[in-house]
């Protein structure tokens, strides 16, 4: 699993990149009450705002961590946004990206590096 400074995690699964937010980010945001997911089959560029999540406190944007095509979104979050708090790095994933070259992940932080980043 790889991590970004935007507090996202990326995991390669069947050649697709699964994206979510870290447990640390979910804890900081507090109770998440709404998730607005993007359409599928759209092409996004790194840093495009693709997901909006709202906690009781405020709205936050989730950015595309890399260029790619959104091929699947986690529809379960629409009815159960609290999943992001319950299992941020598992069941609480947001979308799956098809990317041209998976090596773009190589330079991202490892879990240990991310833990140092947030410490």
């Amino acid at each position: 699993m790889k991590f970004t400074e935007e507090h996202e995690w990326l995991r390669v699964e069947d050649d697709l990149v699964v994206v979510g937010i870290t447990e640390h980010a979910a804890t900081q945001l507090g109770d998440i009450v709404f998730v607005e997911l993007p359409d599928t089959d759209i092409t996004v560029s790194k840093d495009d705002e693709v997901v909006v999540i709202e906690s009781v406190k405020a709205a936050s944007d989730i950015l595309a961590p890399v260029d790619g095509e959104i091929v699947e979104v986690n529809e379960a979050l629409t009815d159960n946004p609290g999943k992001v708090n319950e299992d941020a790095q598992g069941e609480g994933w947001f979308f799956k990206l098809k990317v041209e070259d998976l090596s773009v992940l190589d330079d991202m932080m490892s879990e240990a590096e991310y833990n140092t980043f947030i410490a």
Binding site: G30, D31, V33, F34, E36, V52, E54, S55, V56, K57, A58, A59, T78, P81
Partner: protein, 365 residues
């Protein structure tokens, strides 16, 4: 050092309880504790929650005919307010807008006034300059603690039996753990409860004693905001401000009959005219019908796409279990059941005008 946020007498307790501290109106206050806003909100509605509201301004007004003099600054009737009773009111400006809202208590030989933290710097000089022959004393050595919720009577009553028989908007001075405190049965959550003014050196001990009750948990500013929003209570600076008249804000109930007839307060010409002729816009409850919260500043449109107003407070209501909002719309559209659209991130989200509050107020009448 003057721009460092100030700390209340309960600062150490907040940190010890894991409070997430933020700068609010120049005060370092807990926005939430580890339970989280949702949990704290529900705990307050179901049991009891303790809030530190020491950042609010506590003021003593003393002098001959002080109630009559204060009536020159506010549109509520105060001269007939009996000793031991409190009343909600607001300072109005010459245009009939609201300068701040406040609670005035008749404490017998003086008035006890509580104003918003963010407006202390305005309100104290305003009273000092305009209340001739009145001694205006801002209190710096007392904490203010709110215990709110259906079990607040048990939490406070366990340490102060005299509080149990009090009714909504009554105020007394009574002993808690050997210290004289001012106890008022009121609050800003829509629930039964108390606000208690405590000498600063006893605030920590008494607050810990309240929290020692099985039904009482600490709650922060986040829950305070979602609770007051569900209860349909205005937040100064969001829902009411210098440009909103009390009649637009549907605060007519706070302006008693004699004041509506005689005026004699700043902006009375505009406000009495608003009573007689009505206003172009009204503050209403707005229920988003989907899941997306609509926050302050969101545009409200009629179903045909005409802009009819905007949201002033909005978010997620934990007790409602969905988004809740309030805001101003043109009076013609300010009808419960009216369907409107909220423009959230460029998309029209369906919503409905409702009669406030979202959650029934639960006061001890």
């Amino acid at each position: 050092m003057s721009d460092m946020p100030k700390r209340t007498p309960l600062y150490d307790l907040h940190v010890e309880l894991g409070g997430k501290m933020v700068d609010f109106a120049g005060w370092e206050m807990p926005v939430q504790y580890p339970m989280g806003i949702m949990g704290e909100h529900k705990h307050c509605r179901e049991k009891a929650a303790l809030f530190d509201v020491s950042h609010m301004g506590q003021v003593i007004l003393r002098g001959e005919n002080v109630a009559e003099k204060l009536e020159a600054l506010v549109p509520s009737a105060l001269t007939a307010l009996p000793a031991g009773k409190a009343r909600y009111t607001f300072f109005t400006n010459e245009n009939g807008g609201i300068m701040d809202d406040l609670i005035v208590s008749n404490a017998g030989d003086h008035l006890f006034v509580v104003v918003n933290a963010s407006m202390r710097h305005q309100d104290i000089p305003h009273m000092t300059a305009n209340l001739e022959g009145v001694e205006v004393t801002e209190i710096f050595d007392r904490a203010l603690v709110a215990v709110q919720g259906p079990k607040a009577v048990d939490v406070v009553g366990a340490l102060c039996p005299a509080a149990v028989e009090m009714k909504f908007m009554e105020t007394i001075v009574a002993d808690i753990l050997g210290t004289e405190c001012r106890i008022s049965r009121l609050g800003y959550t829509g629930e039964d409860g108390y606000e208690i003014s405590i000498p600063e050196d006893k605030a920590d001990e008494i607050s810990r004693a309240f929290l020692g009750h099985d039904d009482c948990e600490p709650a922060g500013l986040g829950a305070r905001d979602s609770l007051r929003l569900e209860a349909g209570l205005c937040l100064y600076g969001n829902d009411i401000d210098n440009d909103t008249s009390p009649v637009e804000a549907s605060l007519n109930w706070a302006i008693q009959k004699r004041r509506r007839e005689d005026g004699g307060f700043p902006g009375d010409t505009r406000i009495l005219k608003d009573f007689a002729d009505g206003t172009g816009r009204k503050l209403v409850g707005i229920k988003p019908l989907g899941r997306a919260p609509a926050r302050g500043g969101v545009e409200v449109q009629s179903e045909d796409g005409t802009t009819i107003g905007s949201i002033t407070s909005g978010g997620f209501g934990p007790t409602v279990g969905g988004p809740v909002a309030m805001g101003y719309v043109t009076t013609a559209n300010a009808v419960p059941g009216e369907k409107v659209n909220l423009i959230v991130r460029g998309k029209a989200q369906p919503a409905e005008i409702i009669k406030l509050p979202f959650v029934q107020q639960n006061y001890k009448r």
